[in-house]
Symmetry: C2
Amino acid sequence: MRSRFYLTVLVSLIGISLAFPNTAHGQDRPLLGFRALNVSSQRALEAKFDSFLKADNLRTWMKRLSAKPHHVGSEAGRENAEFMAAQFRNWGYETKIEKFYVLFPTPQIRLLEMTGPKKFRATLREPALKEDTTSAVVGQLPIYNAYSVDGDVTAPLVYVNYGIPSDYETLEAKGINVKGKIVIARYGGAWRGIKPKVAAEHGAIGCIIYSDPRNDGFYQGDVYPKGAYRNPLGAQRGSVADMPLFPGDPLTPDVGATKDARRIPFKDAPTLTKIPVLPISYADAQPLLESLGGSVAPDDWRGALPITYHIGPGATTVHLKLKFNWDTVECRNVIARIPGAERPDEWIIRGNHHDGWVFGADDPLSGAVALMEEARGVGELVKGGWRPKRTLVYCLWDGEEPGLLGSTEWVETHAEELRNVAAVYINSDSNGRGYLGMGGSHTLEKFANEVARDVIDPEKKISVSDRSRAALRVSGGGEEKERAKSGADLSIEALGSGSDFTPFLQHLGIATLNLGYGGEDSGGSYHSAYDSFDNYVRFSDTNFAYGIALAQTAGRMMLRLGNADTLPLEFSSLTNTLDRYSRELKRTMDTMREETDEKNRLIADGIIGYTLDPKKPDRAPKPKTAVPFLNFAPLENALLKAKESARAYDEARVKLSTAVTPEQAKLLDTLLIQTERTMVRPEGLPRRPWFKHQFYAPGFYTGYGVKTLPGIREALDQRDWKEFDAQMPILAQTIEALAAQIDRATALLKGSDANP
Amino acid sequence: MRSRFYLTVLVSLIGISLAFPNTAHGQDRPLLGFRALNVSSQRALEAKFDSFLKADNLRTWMKRLSAKPHHVGSEAGRENAEFMAAQFRNWGYETKIEKFYVLFPTPQIRLLEMTGPKKFRATLREPALKEDTTSAVVGQLPIYNAYSVDGDVTAPLVYVNYGIPSDYETLEAKGINVKGKIVIARYGGAWRGIKPKVAAEHGAIGCIIYSDPRNDGFYQGDVYPKGAYRNPLGAQRGSVADMPLFPGDPLTPDVGATKDARRIPFKDAPTLTKIPVLPISYADAQPLLESLGGSVAPDDWRGALPITYHIGPGATTVHLKLKFNWDTVECRNVIARIPGAERPDEWIIRGNHHDGWVFGADDPLSGAVALMEEARGVGELVKGGWRPKRTLVYCLWDGEEPGLLGSTEWVETHAEELRNVAAVYINSDSNGRGYLGMGGSHTLEKFANEVARDVIDPEKKISVSDRSRAALRVSGGGEEKERAKSGADLSIEALGSGSDFTPFLQHLGIATLNLGYGGEDSGGSYHSAYDSFDNYVRFSDTNFAYGIALAQTAGRMMLRLGNADTLPLEFSSLTNTLDRYSRELKRTMDTMREETDEKNRLIADGIIGYTLDPKKPDRAPKPKTAVPFLNFAPLENALLKAKESARAYDEARVKLSTAVTPEQAKLLDTLLIQTERTMVRPEGLPRRPWFKHQFYAPGFYTGYGVKTLPGIREALDQRDWKEFDAQMPILAQTIEALAAQIDRATALLKGSDANP
């Protein structure tokens, strides 16, 4: 369900940083985790793997799997799971379909009407198009937001821009209160689930979310079916569960939603919204927005509808009525494995979801069919006699769209085992044409970069890594440009949420990567009935060349992780990145302090008052509490130690090429697997114990958007100095525990007692 | 005809700089140019002047003067001039109407139609509105651009964004050529006359200019008559003569367009456009733009129409036919004076135009009626027995809209006399609600700031100067904020063109100020039939409080300039400003060099190629010639000298308070009047000898937008290194001549031989 991948790519390109200079080229380059004598055979294996991959398979599978609506609990979803499982069995995998029983609401009543000053009833329907074969197929989930509560409300309407906390500050400055009102927010600015959450916190009683054509429609390009962009009646489905609290089945936090799992009462389910929420198209939104009076919206609140955007409230009242079937449905994960020949109790896990909101050709099938072809290629290698050292597990998750249901319930069910055996999780989701985006654990940054240097871009015939560097040299900032020019590693982005990596990384602390291509294929089919095969092969990765590139990228990772003499984790990239986060955060604190002081002074001196237009409702804001100097020393000292530990490990691991015995290597793996585990804390983050990773979390008020060092960062965001002071030692201890674990690995390599 | 004043204000606020700290307050503050013993009587005079001013007069006059269309050559224009002249006579002024005979085209045929793929004919008409009394009055000039040539062309259409040179670079990168095409450009980005000029340079055969609602319409606010913004059928008239070459009558450059003036043949008139041009409304533009195919326009080219903006060309063809009555009409300036009692041969000139495109309530009457009330107040003082030392000349110009006709012909006619006697020119044009905007000669910066500290803002009851400082403290950049906080002088903006100051400042080198209030009154009546009394009193300076503030501001200036013991010019503000320009320009050169090198390297290495989407037409640009290190030393050395001269004058002028005899003061005035004259060169700027000022000029490719140090700056802009090297010594000599003139003034003050 991750929003169009190009967004991810941009973040990745912006976040790039120098880690390791590129010191060798092509076939001669060493491979992290491999002894020198094993490198050439590994490269030969990868070349053989590449030779198996066929774009036609991706096309055939996508067409088949996207022929009917295949959301969680649907008949087509069941058929798809069974088809995929059958394929995996054919390819030689131990395969099963693992079922969970999850709460999944579907609409019974959806009514949105303007009751005054004019009458208007929203259509809430995406019409069939002759240019899009599947758009007429029955069984489509209608336009709705999953996990909205039932409701029947009538109230004046207020436009709240993106509906994120800063927008409510703007409303406050204009003297506008949403208490007792229904708000209309545009998609964008944060994950959709944040909008009803923040609206409810401000007293709103209903929430409408629409796709503004400025962000997602004709402003961006020709609309479907003429072009790829969202047409006037297209709308974005999606979950609005409070996933920053926990993802997965709302009734079974922390435990797998097996048939007999203990469930919390429906009325106590904390991730359901507090107010009813409905997504609508821009054709449906226009009459409502056009009718609003009150203040003209600020410049950055205005979209592309041909109206003057007003905020309201005023005479415009709307009636929103929603009622859902609160059913429990079967959620079917396809789990396929090739047991490891030497270290079967070390798992390399690869996943992509298979459920779609409707036909889901792009989301998720573009990624799923690449994963299937990758798995088929690996199967061919196995049929040819090869076996990985470690166990490879391929997963196709169900129920990702409503809330990462399949992956979360599987991870929660197998948590104890996974904590011991799971080495790395590699995720993908939608895939398109363009640049490689990579996010995840920074212990895998160097490894991911090695792979990206070895995959060739289908359009430009240079490595996908060099293509990203070219983009940075053309469009990046000064420092980025220089790094890209030097050929340095690309920074991988930190992960928030929005796809199945979340339970692996943030709940259990399993080293994770998330991959996908995009940036040249933007469009507007996201979570609509027009996310179809017809649409994908006209406007996205039309010849599936980037589907093959994804199979090559993730496949290489699986083969290397499966085969490496020791796990290719590395820690300087991580500690350098943490150091950067720490410095950024300190700057943020200083900037907040200066801006708060400055603003408070302007308020106190009446200066802001002098600039207010007396004919407008704007008023001077209230002063904020001053920002104290907060103690960063524990973090800085812990990082000093961890950087030294990372450096020592870098020095020690050169021994790998000669002096490590298989037993030592196995022992080292065991230590390395646990390094990411040191980054999670059993008590989790404040107010959301399910999220346990201390370096990466989805933002409590951004949703998918990541907050790095979330304990202290969100305390700072919320101006909660006490919580900052409470979180700081926890973070410092986490980093110290990481350093100690790295030291154990170094000690092992140095031959002293590792005390694992 | 200056575009909405708020633009000017913003520029002024951005361009602010520190000149002199504020050292004394209120009534105790010294007044530049006044001996200490004369300060209190001057302030008493100003208080008396204020007491005469009545907002009701402004309202009455605006209603009367805007009742009928009063463009140059119209019957109502004649009546208005006679009415105003009669008022001035009543107020005790020596008054005459001075006539010129100018080329002024009005439309005979205006036809714009889409000929394919669909048929559409533009309405080209602003309908009468019941909410706007005058909109139904007959005799309105239709929607057209004055000084477009006649033409009858049919060709494919291309959208060129603002139609400025950088837009054609974008087109080039997309492989789009406008040769033989008709271009459609939106208003904005540069003065309108630049659009057909640049289009013709690129081979286009016709030009349409439309008001996009993003810049000027519903995107900004509710449209007229519900709100103040341009409605779908509203359009912007305006001149498209090549005024950066020279303003005024196209047939009489350099000489006054008197009845018997020598005129150049019509076919040789260089300021007429090369291709036919027509402005249209956004209702008329939408069908054309909607029909365009080809590339989707880049993000910053997209407006607010509910379409996907494409560039074309393609199947869309348009037919544009224009034919004009090329009449010669009477242009009537009202010139009124109060002779100076002591130094009648030193003139302080005050002007505002009186002609409008249609009813012209805002533009120009909002400024003109403030000038009238100011003049009436001065007249009352004279009736009470006061007489200025110097001659005060009040001017109401005709024909400003088509091309500064009245002011330019008057200045050209009286050039010899003005060179001797004109001390200062103070201009205004449209006036509105909000902040004081000030532009002009930096020799008047300190003087203008003194006045701005003494005028009280009607809304906030603080000085208009402090209100501008408040805005800078809230919205300005770091350095600006600190300056504003310190109470330092506000920077006045450098003047380009767009109102009647141009012939005074840039042709003759007369120290000039341009004034007006605005920023809280933005709307969309500019150059439309809806620029009416009804509109103005609903949406702009509704109670004429800022009209009175303008009368107080300009009136104070006239009274101080008329009465001062010596002219209140000062040179450190100027030399500091020139120093800033010089440093900016050097940085610009360095940045150009670095960017050119970087870009050329990316092109040569193929890096840009790697980032181009193969499914889009974009291609790598051609490399540009490297930017050499250019010699700034002559300018820097001349400024070193001039700054020292300015400092020495600052020191010497403290003597004014005690030791200067009336004869010395008169002699000093004579020297000071000539300081601005040293800034003009008889040969003028390259390719446009009419523009003689070496510090300020309208940009050859920006129009109204100023280019400071234009000789070297435009050479740099055009990457003409040879011309830069040729212009540099001219600029340096100009500054040296200025320094020498300042030194003469200093020497006079020091009692040595001034050799004037």
